[in-house]
Amino acid sequence: MLPDADLGTLMARYQQGDSAAATALVNCLSPLLHRFFLVQCVSRRYADDLLQETWLRLHQVRQTYRPGEPVLPWLYALARHVRVDHYRRTRRVESREQQVEQLPEVPTPAQRRPDSSPDLVELLAGLPESQREVVVMLKLSDMSLDEVARATSSSVGSVKQKAHRAYTSLRQRLAGPGLSQVGPGDRHE
């Protein structure tokens, strides 16, 4: 991924209407966003939808990015908003829908594995959503505590606490059966 200063330059050019900068941003930031959604235990198709929706929203409100500010907190704040908004809308629609007798088959996590990045999804699956997103931002997107706090509209102390709790849960999970056999060195071999 590009350093934040380069992302900031691309964002500024995108705001000026530079289509090459827009394409570069889409190519550079989409994998981050897609993984962010995928780690929230959604199917790949749902993550694709959320990714499209995030870019649509981001494009509509691109003027809210202030040049010189870090890009990733702004990006993740919008991505979180899209996820919550999407979830709320889905629930509203579901509450109005009639229940059918035979439910269609939905992909279980096991069926989803070949499509997604299974290790990371599996590893983080047991964490609460708020801890999962903090881990993704801190460790996978290399954001600072302050940037994660900005993205999640919370304090640095709260981010630290969530990260600490996430690590405690991960340690327990990794020490338990199954995941424990995979050490840091051989996990992705």
Binding site: Q15, Q52, L78, V182, G185, R187
Partner: protein, 232 residues
């Protein structure tokens, strides 16, 4: 297993290339390119905060001048020196929060509910320390209602003007943004009441004047919630 081991596992997972369907990326890029036009970024936060503070001051002074500046004439120097700077600081913090709420990924110093609670309690404490006439007049409720309504009526134009100034922003949490803007608007109403109202009974000022703040904040939050739920 140490924290470093977990870090290593996560880092390895992160270093694995994560591919997104190229067709999807092309579709997204295409749709962005088709509607790509230059946009002006939001002005710096201090400009927006200053604008919001000016709006509040203009509504408060304009309203009080129209209704009569009876309150400020009757206030002692100490009362004036404590009440108005406190209201100015409260307004400035509320404006800062409202601007932050309309800018995704901005630094959060305080949450709007905390500002609402602590700000209202601080004002009550200031009023309690400055006004000592605890008699309850016969017309406590009618006089109080008149002040409450006047305060809320002045909060409306302040809220609308604030929204117009912030409309190019985007609230990732519309309810919190509504609460912050409602609190800010209410302060224009309260400042107007302090300039205008010459009723210095402690309970009148502490209850009816301060009540404008939570009511206006609540109205802002409810309005934002309603607008959000009606959005497709």
């Amino acid at each position: 297993m140490s924290e470093r081991d977990i870090d290593d596992i996560l880092r390895q997972a992160a270093s694995e290339p994560h591919d997104v369907d190229p067709a999807l990326l092309e579709r997204i890029s295409g749709s962005i390119r088709s509607s790509l036009a230059p946009v002006r970024p939001l002005p710096p936060a201090w400009i927006l905060v200053s604008g919001l503070c000016l709006i509040s001051a203009a509504v408060a002074f304009g309203g009080a001048a129209r209704l009569g500046l009876y309150g400020i004439v009757k206030l002692s120097d100490l009362q004036t020196a404590l009440i108005f700077p406190a209201l100015a600081i409260f307004t400035w913090i509320a404006a800062l929060l409202a601007v932050g709420q309309m800018t995704p990924g901005s630094k959060r110093r305080l949450s709007p509910p905390i500002l609402l609670t602590t700000g209202s309690l601080a004002l009550v404490a200031i009023f309690a320390s400055l006004f000592h006439d605890y008699r309850i007049a016969d017309r406590f409720v009618p006089q109080g209602l008149a002040c409450l309504i006047a305060g809320l009526v002045h909060a409306i134009p302040a809220g609308i003007a604030s929204w117009l100034l912030l409309r190019r922003g985007f609230a990732v949490n519309p309810v919190a943004a509504g609460l912050a803007t409602g609190t800010l608007a209410s302060l224009a109403g309260v400042t107007m009441l302090e300039l205008h109202c010459a009723n210095f009974e402690a309970l009148h000022v502490m209850f009816w004047h301060t009540a404008v703040i939570p009511l206006s904040a609540l109205a802002g939050a409810l309005l934002a919630r309603t607008l959000r739920s009606t959005r497709p």
